[in-house]
């Protein structure tokens, strides 16, 4: 990074106006859906369907009214969905990260029987479509009585082969064998060496894997859609999908549901957008880690 900026400083300052204008159009394209949702979540049903400008505010701006409707509709089910999503993202994300960090470190720093074969299996697993696993996992869970419980969503999210791969790459390069050997020579056990010496060195990649796994759980749709039938256990993705299906099925009778869905879409993206802006350094770090190797 610093090399690049120095090289940039040496060059003549260049404006590249046409490129910046092109970029401006692209930014508008990427922001239009957000803008639409921000504007239209301020409208009530007449404002929404009244044929006014769809990309600008109506006369009535009623964010608070829509918000309170959103969180009180059907006994406050939407609030539950957000909490469920949070629970699934945290439990799945933290669990998957712990397993990935340990496994990545193990693969990078130990020599053991079947290591190469096991690691090849993990890499092969990157190519297995996650959705191919959902149907058999559902039947296995049904036999164990686990379907329609939170475990049906959390347990499968613990599997993150990509996290293992990232941690393997990072541990291999960022944790020198000499330091580990020195710690062992000082009498530290393997677990203590891992926790006290290796883990702090791996921390930047740990944060990245945590973010990627938590976001993957938060975004998950197919798995909870298949596993859950009780709508009080739904994450917000499945919940909004359900509302959208209901609202489209009887278009005339459910105009008020549409304003809830729009407000619901806005509220559901806020936590991730905040996480995204505050933690962008970690996102980019991990993505380049995956891309460069």
């Amino acid at each position: 990074m610093s090399d690049r900026s120095r090289a940039g400083a040496r060059r003549r300052p260049q404006r590249h106006l046409p490129l910046q204008v092109l970029l401006g159009f692209l930014v508008v394209y990427f922001l239009v859906p957000f803008w639409w949702v921000i504007v239209n979540s301020s409208k009530d049903a007449p404002g929404l369907f009244g044929g006014g400008n769809t990309l600008w505010f109506a006369d009535q701006i009623d964010y608070l009214g829509n918000l309170s409707q959103l969180f009180t509709y059907d006994g406050g089910i939407y609030g539950r969905w957000i909490l469920n999503s949070t629970l699934y993202a945290l439990a799945g994300g933290i669990g998957a990260t712990i397993l990935s960090v340990m496994a990545g470190y193990g693969f990078a720093k130990y020599r053991f029987a079947a290591r190469r074969f096991s690691f090849a299996l993990v890499l092969g697993a990157l190519m297995v479509p996650a959705t191919a696993l959902v149907i058999p996992t559902f039947i296995m869970f049904a036999e164990l009585g686990l379907t329609n419980t939170i475990w049906a969503v959390i347990l499968p999210s613990l599997l993150n082969p990509f996290g293992v791969y990232l941690m393997h790459v990072y541990a291999r390069d960022a944790v020198p064998d000499e330091i580990l050997d020195a710690a062992r020579a000082d009498g530290a056990g393997e677990i203590r060496t891992f926790l006290r010496i290796a883990f702090p060195l791996m921390r930047p990649a740990v944060v990245t894997v945590l973010l990627l796994s938590a976001v993957a759980s938060w975004n998950n749709y197919f798995l909870p859609l298949a596993m859950l039938s009780d709508n009080r256990l739904f994450p917000v993705t499945v919940g909004l999908g359900l509302w959208q299906g209901i609202a489209s099925a009887n278009n005339a009778g459910s105009t008020s549901l549409w304003s809830l869905i729009i407000m619901g879409a806005l509220v559901s993206v806020i936590p991730l957008v905040i996480a995204f802006f505050t933690l962008q350094r970690h996102w980019r770090g991990g993505l380049s880690l995956g891309g460069l190797r």
Binding site: R4, F30, F34, N40, Y110, V128, T137, L240
Partner: protein, 284 residues
């Protein structure tokens, strides 16, 4: 000692990857009939799948969709990454963030949002096209749903791919550009002859990930289905068809066979792709 660290992941790996795959394979070899119960039919379900017009048309759709959507996303992402790499200003830093923003949005919510924009009742398309006196395109109609979906996935993923490519571009040693300039290379030549070849591993990584993702296409068409009544059937993509068979019709054997066949297509597709590009493959 290594197994101490790898073991916990290994258990999850066996329980939620190997076991379901083996179980899906097992299930796919049986059939449940009203009379006679469940019986072993070996590969009959696969024979049925590969002659089933629903599965074949769905597979054909995701293959066609991959051929259009993946190159489009990668070209857009590459162009944006090259611009952002070449021009540094406050505005480009802002743009980088805004273009990446859709990645933070769950695909389901992205599809819901584009569903709003495509909607005839409250979408802006009729306003915009009305200004020019033109009829607005209906991206939820059977003619245009393909492009409607291409647009949704491009919006969703191009920024993510852009960031990966941008990070790879930033990792290039800038003295290479100085050397190329000394030799008389222009900006375009530097981009085409130096930058793009050097980020080939990142481009391949993106290609593989987008191929795996697109062949499993499910979330976006499933969400837009309720808006595009009649346009998107329950067998629109192989994954939707497998879902319908398993969860709407409780036909788990055939559903497993379809998802296993789809998994096989993805695995073989990716494997063949990696085989033909193995010289450049340095990311795995």
């Amino acid at each position: 000692m290594g197994w101490l660290f790898v073991g916990p992941f290994g258990i999850v790996f066996l329980a939620f990857l190997i076991a379901p795959l083996a179980y899906a394979l097992y299930l796919s070899l049986f059939q449940k009939r009203l009379i006679g119960g469940t019986s072993f039919v070996f590969l009959d379900n696969y024979v049925k799948a590969f002659t089933d017009p629903s599965f074949l048309s769905g597979s054909w759709f995701v293959i066609r969709f991959s051929l259009v959507a993946i190159p489009l996303q990668i070209i857009v992402a590459l162009a944006m990454a090259l611009i952002l790499d070449a021009v540094t200003s406050l505005f480009t830093r802002f743009s980088r963030l805004m273009i990446f923003l859709p990645y933070a949005i769950p695909t389901v919510i992205g599809a819901v949002m584009w569903g709003f924009l495509y909607s005839k009742s409250f979408g802006p398309l009729s306003d915009i096209f009305g200004l020019f006196g033109a009829t607005p395109p209906d991206f939820l109609s059977s003619n245009l749903i393909f492009y409607g979906l291409v647009n949704v996935v491009t919006w969703q993923w191009a920024g993510y791919y852009m960031i990966i490519l941008y990070a790879a571009l930033q990792g290039i040693d800038p003295t290479l550009y100085e050397a190329a300039r000394m030799d008389g290379a222009g900006k375009w030549q530097i981009a085409l002859r130096i930058k793009i070849p050097l980020i080939a591993p990142a481009l391949l990584l993106i290609l593989v990930f987008s191929l795996i993702g697109t062949l499993q296409f499910f979330n976006e068409p499933q969400i837009l289905r309720s808006l595009a009544a009649g346009t998107i059937g329950p067998d629109f993509t192989p994954n939707m068809y497998a879902y319908q068979q398993a969860f709407s019709l409780a036909n788990f054997n055939y559903g497993s066979a379809i998802s296993f066949a789809l998994g096989g297509i993805v695995f073989i597709g990716v494997y063949v792709f990696l085989f033909f590009t193995r010289k450049r493959r340095s990311f795995l």
